[in-house]
Amino acid sequence: MNLNIKKIFRNKAPKSNHKEFDLSQFKNIENFLNEIGGLSRFTGNFFRVLFRPPYEHKELLKQSFNIGLNTLSLIGITGFIMGLVLTLQSRPVMAEFGAESWLPGMVSVSIVREIGPVITALICAGKIGSGIGAELGSMRVTEQIDAMEVSGTNPMKYLVATRVLATTFMIPLLVFYSDALSFLGSYIAVNMHGFISFPLFINQAFDSLHYFDLIPATIKTFFFGFAIGIIGCYKGYFSENGTEGVGKAANSAVVISSLVIFIIDLIAVQLSEVFHIFTI
């Protein structure tokens, strides 16, 4: 028996003064899913072109220089202040418990496991992610990418792969620098209210650290770098509507990168807990 459901609903359903259900409310979800799908396809394309020659060494080095070295000063200052402030803020509480000698250990664990990677990644998302989004977006709206395709240069290989690789490998290095300078800041902060020799500080700091602190934290920074690069490239590569689109691309690159950094961090914490269990 065939039932005409539309007819039944049209005839039997009571009339209401309310507006009809607007399917456009699903537009955001549709856009979200569309973005995820597009990003996934973009990531797939990245991996497809990544291992195919020719390899763009020069561009990779150039991007590494721009992303790594040009961000070092910002990351260095931020990391130094981070260690200093964290120690100064933690010291009164630790002193209350008579555990000031644990400051180096506590600060080192905090910095290496969480604060160093996440803060560095967020700063890079702001500086590098927006830069990549804006650069590629402007190239898209000025049809430079189209021109590259026409001229036979694969923009995915030349523009995207190099930038994503550069962020993937430079951000962990920046995190190391940031951690080291945070330690320096922490050492100075500890010495503001007392005296501790640098070797003793380093001993206490590393005494509290273990491989299950350093290794998962380092691994996740590669994912942070990859996320910043790929999202920045994706948003810039598919930007539309002229200069306004460039701004939106840069902005959304930063927002989405930051969000993804926290999501990756959440997953990394869970996985590192599992890793920690396996080490026992």
Binding site: K58, L61, K62, S64, F65, G68, L69, L72, A99, V112, P172, L173, L174, F176, Y177, D179, A180, I202, F206, D207, L209, H210, Y211, D213, L214, T218, T279, I280
Partner: protein, 353 residues
């Protein structure tokens, strides 16, 4: 082109330093847990490891020398703990060394302390099992604390009851606190003590002023010398007494014979018997005397008449006077005879004169 090379060099420097930092971190953490040093394994068997985990430090004389490499349950009551110890410390650990699970302060991680053994015992070898000292469990301490607190509660309750009784004036202590006479006595004791201390102060004052015997004792050297000599004399006296007693003990002298000579004592015994006899006779004598005096009192006999009969006494007195008178006359007659020339003629003595 030149800029690119310059950039590449700077990038290489940046990457090299970053990687170096990472490697240093890896190495430093590894050195803390003895990954990069040559190690050997020893183990210990515990009944309770109190949360000891793989990676916890092992210490010898307070120095970190290794880490816990494995924790394994052997059976339902024993746990085996394997330690990875630095090879260069092996020479200090003996086969009779002992392991104990401790902690780094109140809130610190668990650690394994290794105590040194007998120097004459062999050095520990790879895979040896060391003796263990069982951990003092906090649960047990808490249990004991709980018992102590219960006892404390009972004690405080009893003390409260006692103080209540005292407040109510029950029992000896209650009376002590409630009875006003006690406080009066106390105040009197206090007053007396004050007087006593005053007196004592006066005495000490006099002594300090060299007044009185004690003051003199403390200040006067003559008295002190006299006392010294007195002491010496006393000493000599006691010495003599000692000698005397020794002589007595040896049976020398009268007292010695008394205490030691059996013949003397038998003589004494006889003397005692004679004394008994004498006293018996004396008693008879005294009885007789009593009888005689009774008779005298009753006026019987010559002596009674002498004492009680006044006429008889007067006649005796007259008789005595007459006798005295007669004796005088005889004496005068003798003197007259003596002065007679005829008698003097025949007396040589008179002639010689």
């Amino acid at each position: 082109m030149h800029d690119t090379k310059k950039h590449n060099i700077r990038l290489g420097f940046f990457v090299a330093i970053g990687v170096l930092l990472f490697i240093l971190g890896i190495y430093y953490i590894g050195s803390q847990i003895n990954i990069f040093s040559k190690n050997f394994q020893v183990s210990g068997i515990f009944t309770d490891i109190s949360g000891l985990k793989v990676g916890n430090n092992a210490r010898f004389s307070g120095i970190n020398i290794g880490t816990v490499s494995k924790v394994q349950i052997i059976n339902d009551s024993l746990v085996r703990v394997d330690l990875s110890i630095q090879e260069n410390v092996r020479q200090f650990i003996r086969k009779d060394s002992k392991m104990e699970i401790g902690s780094e302060g109140l809130m610190g991680n668990k650690i394994v302390n290794i105590y040194t053994g007998n120097i004459n015992i062999d050095i520990v070898e790879e895979g040896d099992t060391l003796k263990t000292i069982e951990v003092v469990q906090i649960d047990k301490i808490l249990r004991q604390l709980n018992t102590s607190s219960v006892n404390t509660a009972i004690i405080t309750k009893n003390v409260a009851e006692i103080t209540e009784k005292i407040n109510r004036g029950e029992g000896a202590f209650g009376k002590l606190f409630a009875d006003t006479s006690f406080s009066n006595n106390l105040s009197r004791i206090g007053e007396n003590t004050a007087v006593l201390t005053n007196n004592f102060a006066d005495i000490t004052d006099k002594i300090s002023k060299e007044e009185g015997t004690i003051g003199m004792l403390l200040s006067d050297t003559v008295l002190a010398n006299q006392l010294f000599f007195t002491g010496e004399n006393l000493q000599k006296s006691t010495q003599n007494l000692v000698e005397i007693t020794e002589q007595i003990n040896r049976g020398q002298g009268l007292f010695g014979e008394i205490f030691t000579d059996t013949t003397f004592t038998s003589g004494l015994s006889r003397a005692g018997k004679n004394l008994d006899y004498t006293t018996e006779k004396a008693k008879i004598l005294s009885d007789n005397l009593v009888k005689i005096t009774d008779e005298i009192n009753e006026g019987q006999g010559l002596i009674a008449r002498l004492i009680y009969d006044t006429a008889f006494a007067d006649s005796i007195e007259i008789a005595v006077q007459n006798v005295n008178k007669g004796a005088k006359e005889v004496e005068e007659a003798a003197k007259v005879v003596k002065r007679n020339w005829l008698i003097r003629l025949f007396s040589k003595k008179e002639k010689n004169k």
